[in-house]
Symmetry: C2
Subunit: 363 residues, 2 copies
């Protein structure tokens, strides 16, 4: 089974750590793919080789690919044309070339997510190291299955009654078609919906299973970096992403750092100097060892309490709302939906108390 | 007239420079808004004050606002409801709450762009300092008007012939409605299209006018940072964003740095230490002085040549395609469309030669 590992951190160190981690696994004989969204020359310079938009062997067991949006868009284009062929006129394909499409915000993450999904499903790699932005945008990307899940469920109920042609006409076409790539699978809508449903379920399963996907935090010892990294830790909980450890870049281990991220284990690595990767690789944590971290969510039926682990926020930054049998938590600019178990449904929230790092909801 | 200034750079220094620039303008008596997309505590720690999702005075002439996507989504919700009220059933508004919507990739930039647009049009500020990601995503955000321009023009031609209801039904509803916020203005489609057309034209005018919007590069002296920053300079050309200077963070001025970014003027600033902002502010460039930089595009009708300024790329990274009377340039994972002037229309590209920093197209 493939594993995906990614790195979250404030600043410019996650790329270096991702490269080191890829080398770490390759040295252990794992088939590794380093998938980077960094298109500027910095990663090429760190690796000492030009990169391509297809996986390229750069060392034993180690392949690297640049996830470039313009190229990914062309790659999904043929797929898309087939999928929509039955209800788009033939002029569609003739009128529009993938090489013409301009890139809007969101394309990067949606297409990179799709590419990661395909590499993951291919079975060609034991480990995929995803070198993304390492910040909120990486959480948006990994949050796609959860977000789509909700839109998909709601869309059936609400949009049956709408005059869809007017809506679609208003916002114009190719934009819609680009979004279709992420959502349409079949010319037959029912089959298509079932397929999309399956993709979403697979995605949710992968994101929330530590053995399939996990993130490590990366920080320096600057107070702002530590606070920002802890905030990312909390934000990751909001999309059910498991965080397995923390890597301190170019700083001395100290009690404060250790306490800030308890119970995560802190590994301290040196800065990269003179391309001495071995010094970093030897200091990396053992990515294969099991980890013990707080559960993101604990439901205590007897006490009628829900305990949500949310490190890095203050009281003002956590918002709690109830919609019927669902609770919505806003924090870290992420929105998380929690479905109440049957035993607690129909009960209003009596109290929500935030005692960092826990939000305690009493029903 | 308002000005928007933003910073592009590899690494974690653009936020610090943005804060210093905001203080610089405030000290000159300008009404300044610092609009930051950094939601983790790092900017609050640098400013020494908690921030809000509405503009908040933190010093004389200086307001700060955090652009938080979940909040911006709720703010546009009422606007959206009014706009679509005429062709959505009333149950729509009852069935769906803005506080329920999950965030997909792209929402951050689209909603932040819309917020910046509103602050810009309000006339409340002389200078808006936009503290975004400072990387490719910032260029995606500022590239929205150009991208929409093309989608908008094309959508008329292509989608008239499509069965739109099937398409819209396929990808589900609230996703569409979220996108609508960026595109619909009026219940009457013709009026709506005219209004959107106007927004797009205004946006294009603002982005390409140095007096309305400009970017400064920020780099350290690490070779990877310098190369990445130069790459961002080239990528900015692709969305017609004017770059007016470069700020070297915590490094000695040297000839190599100066040459790499010629003819931009390099200003060297110290690292922030003990909250000594004055040391940085005094070293900042004069943001009010006129700058002289190469034109992004020069068309030589006599020679039948087009000269495109594209620093930071190598030959392999620049792709040239012709579609009828348009030339498309792919570089920096940005796609740029150039309409040939009437005198050159109907002529095929004879040669495209890349001699960094210039792409020379001969017709």
């Amino acid at each position: 089974m493939s594993r995906i590992i990614t790195f979250l951190g404030h600043g410019c160190t996650t790329g270096t750590v991702a490269i080191a981690a890829a080398k770490w696994f390759a040295q252990q004989g794992k088939r590794v793919l380093l998938a980077t969204q960094t298109l500027d020359p910095s990663v090429e310079m760190l690796l000492g080789t030009p990169l391509n938009t297809y996986p390229q062997v750069i060392a034993d067991n180690l392949q690297v690919v640049q996830l470039q949006t313009t190229v990914l868009l062309e790659q999904v284009w043929d797929e898309l044309k087939q999928l929509v062929a039955s209800y788009l006129p033939t002029t569609f394909a003739e009128d529009l070339y993938p090489g013409e499409l301009l890139i809007l915000p969101g394309f990067d993450s949606v297409l990179a997510f799709n590419a990661l999904r395909q590499y993951y499903m291919s079975g060609d790699y034991d480990v995929i190291i995803y070198d993304g932005e390492g910040n909120k945008e990486t959480l948006r990307l990994l949050g796609i299955p959860n977000a789509l899940d909700w839109y998909f469920s709601r869309s059936g109920k609400i949009f049956d009654s709408l005059d869809l042609s007017k809506i679609a006409a208003s916002f114009g076409g190719p934009l819609a078609s680009a979004i279709l790539t992420a959502n349409i699978d079949s010319q037959k809508l029912q089959q298509g919906r079932a397929q999309v449903r399956q993709w979403i379920d697979q995605g949710i399963a992968v994101v929330s299973d530590r053995n399939c996907l996990t993130a490590y935090l990366v920080t320096t010892d600057a107070p702002e970096a530590i606070a920002a990294t802890r905030w990312l830790w909390g934000s990751a909980q909001q999309i059910k992403l498991n965080v397995s450890g923390i890597i301190a870049y170019n700083c001395q281990l100290n009690d404060q750092l250790q306490q800030t991220f308890t119970p995560l284990v802190v590994a301290s690595i040196p800065a990269l100097s003179n391309q001495n990767w071995d010094a970093i690789i030897q200091a990396l944590p053992d990515f294969n060892s099991p980890v013990s971290v707080p559960q993101s969510l604990t439901i205590d039926l007897a006490q009628q309490q829900i305990l949500v682990f949310l490190p890095g926020f203050n009281r003002k930054q956590v918002k709690l709302t109830q919609y019927g049998s669902e609770i919505v938590i806003d924090a870290g600019d992420q929105r998380r939906r929690i479905s109440l178990p049957p035993e607690l449904q129909g009960q209003p929230i009596k109290a929500g108390k935030f005692e960092e790092p826990y939000l305690i909801i009493s029903l």
